[in-house]
């Protein structure tokens, strides 16, 4: 049976009769990526965690403005003198299968998510031990004072220990999958009623949810649609109520339609250029084999001043993005307001810097770029090549799919590269830990610092930032690191990537900067 109500632009598919009252609250949405698993501890990626946020819950959660608010914990406070954190758990919460939520489940989920086979184990690197105080109180003891711990576990989701044991899924198994790969049992606002990987996933509201529901959805269906043109057509024809993302080039056209709305925002992801800080020689272009000019801070500054970011945003991003001056966007905690200005776009100054550095005629090098990872990434790189040509830097662009890209960066096969970084903790400490500190595999530091940048002051400050409880002192240290990164031009931050979602005009929802789509904030009018 196939009904279509063009008045509300909503399609209802059902094999049998369709309940009339349900019409206004059936919701369908599409995105390019299917969550590859329903196991909240198996894969640490935005499509998985974003989707599962509707089904599972953590001790804390983020509200519409990314602030941390109570979820399964009603309150938390530091214990001892920076020894850790105590969480008081919510009472009367049940999982989807009806079993009660207790501290036992939190301890179990901690052990499951911090196991070495779990992709989420890095979240618990600062944790020494978790111990149950009583049925609804649990302590997390940390190696040192850790002010950001509650915020850093907002995506750590609690699983029922009894359910996991009964279904032999006490550990995540990414390689072979297990019961939790296809089934879910959380405490969240929605429960999974059908799951066909890569095809569709059906969610229905959980009647026993502890919080008051603000949505009016009775059934929600998610379909991955890879082809952007198909997704746009599906939205226009009303086959889906929401798509994420909308291709930037289609956004202006869709805005003119009465039937759909475009919702724009700024994502947490900063797009930047990176350099080889350690390499002895250039690797690509006619000057390959020559000493590496990017070790000279003046050359890096020249690159920063030669790039006209507003022009890139106006043309390639069609005015949908914002300039970035540092490694995090202004929406993140720890953003350094004192360092909000990019180096001025000034071709003459850039040329003068190159002359001073001993390259009056410029040089040639290779720029590596992904072509399917960030919005319009290849076009941005082409623009960078053209802009650098104005100061005599001849970049050879090599754009490739992201599946080939990371291996190239890991092998140090670049003279300059494009990188986007979205801090998982929504805090400025995150990119310092991954992108700026000296790489140190044993301490799990600097794992994305491909260029091998190293600054002893930054290395000194990172542990202090991680353990400082006083917000003012912490911000002062973050400011200092930001100053160093700007002075050294460790990276050239370009812009904060835009978020562009499309909805039918009868849908109201909230777009969060982490690009998570939260179903409980949707209302169908």
């Amino acid at each position: 049976m196939f009904l279509r109500s063009s008045a509300i632009g909503l399609v209802l598919l059902a094999a049998g009769a369709v309940n009339g009252a349900a019409q206004a609250a059936e919701f369908k949405w599409a995105s390019t990526t299917d969550p590859q698993t329903l196991d909240p501890h198996a894969v640490n990626s935005a499509p998985v965690l974003g989707f599962l946020n509707n089904v599972y819950e953590g001790l804390v959660r983020r509200d519409q403005d990314m602030n941390v608010e109570p979820a399964l914990a009603v309150s938390w406070k530091p214990i001892g003198d920076g020894a850790g954190w105590r969480f008081n758990l919510r009472e009367g919460v049940t999982f989807h299968d009806g079993s009660p939520f207790t501290a036992e489940d939190v301890l179990f989920s901690y052990e499951r998510a911090s196991n070495e086979v779990a992709d989420t184990n890095s979240w618990f690197a600062p944790v020494k031990e978790a111990s149950i105080v009583d049925d609804h109180t649990i302590d997390f003891l940390t190696h040192g004072p850790n002010p950001i711990f509650p915020g850093s576990i907002a995506n750590w989701m609690i699983m029922d220990s009894g359910w996991a044991e009964a279904n032999a899924t006490t550990l995540p198994d990414k390689d072979n999958g297990n019961y939790a790969t296809l089934n879910a049992n959380g405490t969240g606002a929605f429960r999974v009623t059908a799951r066909e990987p890569g095809l569709r996933t059906v969610l229905e509201p959980f009647d026993g949810w502890w919080d008051a529901a603000t949505h009016n959805i009775t059934r929600a269906e998610f379909t991955p649609i890879q082809n952007p043109a198909t997704a746009v057509a599906a939205l226009l024809s009303g086959d889906v109520d929401m798509i994420n993302p909308v291709p930037i080039q289609d956004a202006a056209r869709l805005k003119e339609s009465d039937e759909v709305e475009i919702i724009q925002g700024i994502e947490a992801r900063v797009i930047m250029l990176g350099f080889p800080h350690e390499a002895e020689a250039l690797k690509y272009g006619p000057d390959a084999g020559q000493p590496n000019p990017f070790r000279d801070v003046r050359v890096r500054q020249a690159v920063a001043q030669a790039i006209n970011v507003p022009a890139i945003l106006a043309t390639i991003m069609r005015g949908n993005a914002e300039e970035a001056s540092q490694l995090v966007s202004p929406a993140m905690s720890g953003y350094s307001a004192a360092h909000s200005a990019r180096p001025a776009f000034d071709v003459e100054a850039a040329k003068a810097l190159l002359t001073e550095a001993g390259y009056p005629d410029g040089f040639s090098f290779g720029l590596k770029c992904p072509n399917d990872r960030y919005l319009n990434d290849e076009a941005v790189c082409q623009a960078v090549v053209a802009m650098l040509a104005q100061i005599g830097l001849k970049a050879e662009l090599d754009a490739m799919p992201v599946r080939n890209y990371w291996p190239e960066l890991r092998e140090d096969n670049y003279d300059m590269y494009l990188l986007g970084w979205s801090p998982g903790t929504f805090d400025a400490e995150h990119p310092i830990r991954f992108l700026v500190t000296t790489p140190n595999p044993d301490k799990k530091l600097g794992s994305w610092n491909f260029g091998g940048f190293s600054n002893t002051r930054v290395d000194e400050l990172l542990p202090l930032i991680q353990s400082e409880l006083d917000a003012g002192k912490r911000q002062a240290m973050l400011d200092e690191v930001t100053q160093i990164v700007q002075d050294e031009h460790t990276y050239v931050p370009l812009y904060v990537q835009p978020l562009v979602w499309g909805t039918r005009s009868n849908i109201a929802l909230t777009q969060r900067p982490d690009n998570f789509f939260i179903l409980r904030w949707v209302s169908v009018n």
Binding site: M1, F2, R4, S6, V11, L13, A14, A15, Q36, T37, A42, V43, N44, S45, D119, T120, S122, W123, D173, K174, D175, N176, G177, T181, L182, E196, P197, G198, L199, T223, P224, I225, Q226, N227, A229, T230, A233, A234, L236, S237, G238, D239, D372, P401, V402, R403, N404, W406, P407, R410, S422, G424, F434, P441, K444, S447, W448
Partner: protein, 325 residues
């Protein structure tokens, strides 16, 4: 006859082994699955551990041997992306592709032969010329564009048919069918036309030119002189003699309908094996890619074999040649 079949089967197995070897030697150029499987906060140790768990640190010949050992026992491994056995995933997806291919193939053959005969008999007529002109669209426009155009016209503008997906399906045993629901049938229309259009025009043009050839033959003129009706002349004598090349082409095209459903399936988000393959490439899901490529080559090789055997049945001259060689 038997030795001929045995020889052909033996050749087919060699072809399959070579296809597999070439495929495995190419996989490392597709990219590295590791980064897709590990999150942002992975360490070098995680990368090394996963790579050795998956056997990706070994030479491709070793990986291929491991794959073959599993494949002969019906075990194609576990998908990197979904963490489920590849055979289960393919079995889930195959009905969608096979139903789509069956409908498109049926459309292509019936309409192709019908229109081909029509345009050959009425070759001066206005209708025949119009069909011939329109058929140029079918051979010259890329599938991708045809699909998008159809979606735009029938889903976005006219709001008649769904823009993507398969509609509601009904499970019968291990088979999920879209034939039994109204939404399933509606969802089939656009993808089937998109996928079958090229084959249809190809068959139509082939039948037409073969027919024109045959209609000039002496035996057709004699048949007319004997006063046989047009219907008997056109269909019993002329059409039958055009069928040998048509069968060859149709057979091979049937294979490509299944293999090249990839594009149509991507445009319509049709949940078949083609879409699965595209996803596998994006994710560098080597077990799925390997199984898909092997299945497609088994299919092509078998279709070739069947076509060869059909010649045998249709054309008596081949049977004589077969005996002498």
């Amino acid at each position: 006859m038997l030795s001929y079949i045995l020889r052909r089967v033996f050749q087919s197995v060699i072809v399959l082994l070579v296809v597999g070897l070439v495929a495995f030697s190419m996989f490392r150029f597709v990219g590295d699955p590791i980064d897709n499987m590990l999150g942002q906060e992975r360490t070098q140790a995680d990368i090394d551990r996963l790579r050795s768990d998956l056997g990706l640190d070994q030479p491709f010949v070793v990986q291929y041997a491991k794959f073959l050992r599993g494949a002969v026992q019906g075990n194609f491994g576990v998908s990197y992306r979904q963490g489920r056995p590849v055979s289960t995933i393919i079995a889930e997806r195959a009905p969608a592709t096979l139903e789509l291919a069956a409908v498109s193939g049926f459309l292509a053959i019936t309409l192709g032969i019908g229109l081909g005969v029509f345009t050959a008999i009425r070759r001066q007529g206005f209708a025949a010329n119009a069909i011939m002109t329109v058929s140029l669209i079918g051979v010259s426009l890329p599938t991708f564009l045809i699909g998008i155009l159809l979606i735009y016209i029938f889903s976005v503008e006219l709001d008649l048919l769904p823009s993507f997906g398969r509609g509601e399906t009904v499970r019968i045993g291990g088979w999920s069918t879209g034939f039994l629901t109204a939404s399933g049938l509606k969802a089939l229309i656009l993808p089937a036309i998109t996928l079958g259009l090229y084959q249809m025009t190809l068959i139509m043009r082939l039948v037409r030119s073969e027919m024109l050839e045959v209609l000039r033959a002496d035996y057709v003129r004699f048949a007319r002189a004997r006063g046989l009706s047009d219907r008997v002349v056109n269909f019993r004598h002329a059409l039958k003699n055009t069928l040998v090349p048509v069968i060859t082409v149709t057979g091979l095209q049937l294979g490509s309908i299944i293999a090249f459903a990839i594009i149509t399936e991507t445009v319509f988000q049709w949940p078949g094996v083609g879409l699965l393959f595209i996803n596998a490439i994006q994710f560098v899901d080597i077990p799925v890619m390997a199984a898909y490529l092997m299945l497609i080559s088994v299919m092509f090789v078998s279709i070739n074999l069947i076509v060869d055997l059909l010649y045998y049945a249709i054309d008596p001259r081949l049977r004589i040649d077969g005996r002498t060689t």
